[in-house]
Amino acid sequence: MSLAIRGGVLVDPANRVNAKRDLYIDTEGFVVAVGRAPRGFKARRTIDATNKIVCPGLIDLRARLREPGLEHKATLESELRAAVAGGITTLCCPPDTMPVIDTPAMAQMIQSRAWHFGYAFIHPFGALTRDLKGQQLADMEALDDAGCVAFTNAMAPVTNTLVMRRAMEYAASFDLSVFLHSEDPWLKADGCCHEGEISARLGLPGIPEAAETVAVARDLALIDQTRVRAHFCGLSSARAVQMVAEAQRRGLPVSADVTAHHLHLTEHDIGYFDTQCHVQPPLRSRRDRDALRRAVKQGVITAICSDHQPHEPDAKLAPFSDAEPGISGLETFLPLTLKLVNEKLIPLPQAIALLTQKPADILGLESGRIGVGATADICIFDPKALWTLTAASMTSRGRNSPFLGTEFRGRVSHTIVGGRVVFENGKFPLGR
């Protein structure tokens, strides 16, 4: 269906556009014109985007969709709907599904299931080591051919430094990207929150900052030697950010992301054992949170991710340390990032870049931008709309969010994937 989006402000950081521009999309789902309609263009449908922002569809570097393996928490279908409800058109799925994404068949199965539902695109990440055990390398080249855009051991540590070195060398041989969750498992031990004031007060086992810095230091040394293209996932501490910034200054090919919630919450939000704030890596001190925000502003951290982890209610109804970590984050991904704009930390185009162009660059994808010829993955939102997150208002199967009851400014009205309107004012027009 040909589509025109008129009257909105187009924010397309990759093309340095931040102005009123109309968009024209052909029946194949490609952008055919920005600004004026091509000669003879007939829109079957026109979306009025007056007073709204039109931007590239959001790209989320990390979302657990729980399928296959944990369908009691969520399914691909439920979470793909939640994604487009949050303006997200591309999701990356870590390989720690059950079974693990360490075979081409698994990678293809997830993509074809997503294709079947037809909401957002999924890019699977391949396992760095077989079954994420940190011992044998996974078949990275075959996984790459099957559509894996990066390789990671997810939250499972590669404790054997030699295996990590070999994995990086092998990935570098084929120009593959490695995503790292750098955390020393010995220093982390049974920790469940930041080792600091709150762990001292509540008697919870803490995770010291050194659990992150020790592992980042090791991984940086190996990146320096292997020259693999590497990305640090979900940095949580001021010191780790400093180390990555220093490595970038030295010219190492490293990038980094942060989760949306780490830019807003600190250990103090745990209050009295609020299990909704049990996340991995842990929420750290105010000083750490402020350093993460500065790193975003200064461009050391170039992407924000949702780190979406939907849970059934029981997973959080347990003593803090036994509660499962993670936040259902797809639907607060854009609002939490817009909050940085409302708080005057960064301008709107930079905020949009952190969710679109920059993650696309990290993945080596051409998406995340709206030029003539680009696939029409588009998010339209009303930057002034006020709304409150409630469990009932969430599309995700997981209602585990510390932001329930929080008022946000900025709400998605339309999500367009490949030229098709998949979300519109709370409804899913193509849904089954």
């Binding site: 080792e195 001292a200 008697g203 209050g271």
Partner: protein, 330 residues
């Protein structure tokens, strides 16, 4: 979950989960009530009818002898019916969740749960999910809190020393893993103790411990210098395997309370220990059984303090007052 979970809408104590958030006044009221219960234990008939007809369940997910027994005696002296449940060996091992276990016991019309659990925050979690008429007392949750122990400790200190607002107190031992220490620090703070010291090697001190308003010492003699009260903690033997301390001998040499180290404290200093003691590890028998020890009075006081807390949160009062009539069932 909020700290004020333990108060009802009128600001009355409803559960007893943590010392955090309790005013000096509330603590003193509990201590005064406990004092009135001391005499009950000395009578021929050691019972008052404050909790007659009430059902108290001692729900212990972690083994305990002393705490469970004193709670049981306290409840029985208040005329309640008491059931002891050692869940470590029952439902939990069959995969039942904590809240399911509680809901099942609640369905048997329990009025008060005394809960011990090895996870910090367990008592708060339960209190947040029981119906309004059910009361919860925290008998120890992980390394977080053991508020009734702290109450009996400050009761014992008050008996020996009177006003706490001029005292120097040292807490010695495994602060890091100690719910007792965390609650003691809060209780001493609330009662206005001007100087609280913690004494341990850095491996047994939490990072950021000074944020709790205490001064950390790694040298025990310096830490005990001039103090009025020495509160010893029990050292769990498994700490050796966690590379937290090298050996029993080294620990005893450095942090064991011997008469010689105790001599650094004031001449009339008292010594407390929550029990069970490891003689020859954290405390020398000469001190444990010596004239400055108030370790056995602690146990006796523990019953009166727990009676007071039960009576207050169940809406009763002191030994002199009569039980309130239960409101007629709707």
């Amino acid at each position: 979950m909020r700290p004020d979970l333990q108060f009802d809408n009128n600001g009355r104590l409803k559960h007893f989960l943590t010392i955090d958030g309790l005013s000096r006044q509330t603590i003193l009221q509990i201590l005064d009530t406990a004092k009135s219960f001391i005499s009950v234990g000395q009578r021929e008939i050691k019972k008052v009818p404050l909790l007659r007809g009430k059902t108290v369940v001692n729900l212990f997910f972690e083994s305990s002898t002393r705490t469970r027994t004193t709670f049981e005696i306290a409840a029985k002296r208040l005329s309640a019916d008491v059931i002891n449940l050692n869940v470590a060996t029952s439902s939990a091992s069959k995969g039942e969740t904590l809240l399911d276990t509680v809901r099942n016991l609640e369905a048997m019309h329990t009025d008060l749960f005394v809960v011990r659990h090895n996870r910090a925050g367990a008592a708060h979690l339960i209190a947040a999910h029981v119906p309004p008429h059910v009361r919860i007392i925290n008998a120890g949750d992980g390394a977080h809190a053991h508020p009734t122990q702290a109450m009996l400790d400050v009761f014992t200190i008050r008996e020996a020393k009177g006003d706490l607002r001029k005292l120097k107190v040292a807490i010695v031992g495994d602060i890091q893993h100690s719910r007792v220490a965390r609650s003691q620090i809060r209780a001493l703070k609330a009662l206005g103790v001007p100087e609280i010291r913690v004494v341990a090697p850095r491996t047994l001190l939490p990072t950021a411990i000074e944020r709790l308003g205490v001064v950390a010492y790694t040298d025990m003699r310096a830490g005990l210098d001039g103090v009025d009260v020495v509160m010893m903690l029990r050292l769990q033997l498994e700490r050796m395997s966690g590379a937290l301390i090298p050996s029993e001998q080294e620990y005893f040499n450095l942090y064991g309370l011997t008469p010689e180290k105790l001599a650094c404290a004031k001449a009339d200093a008292i010594v407390l220990h929550p029990g069970p003691m490891n003689r020859g590890l954290e405390i020398d028998s000469a001190v444990a059984d010596g004239p400055q020890s108030v370790i056995l009075p602690q146990v006796t006081n523990g019953i009166a303090v727990r009676m007071a807390i039960m009576a207050i949160i169940m809406g009763g009062g002191t030994a002199e007052t009569q039980p309130r009539r239960p409101e007629a069932a709707a």
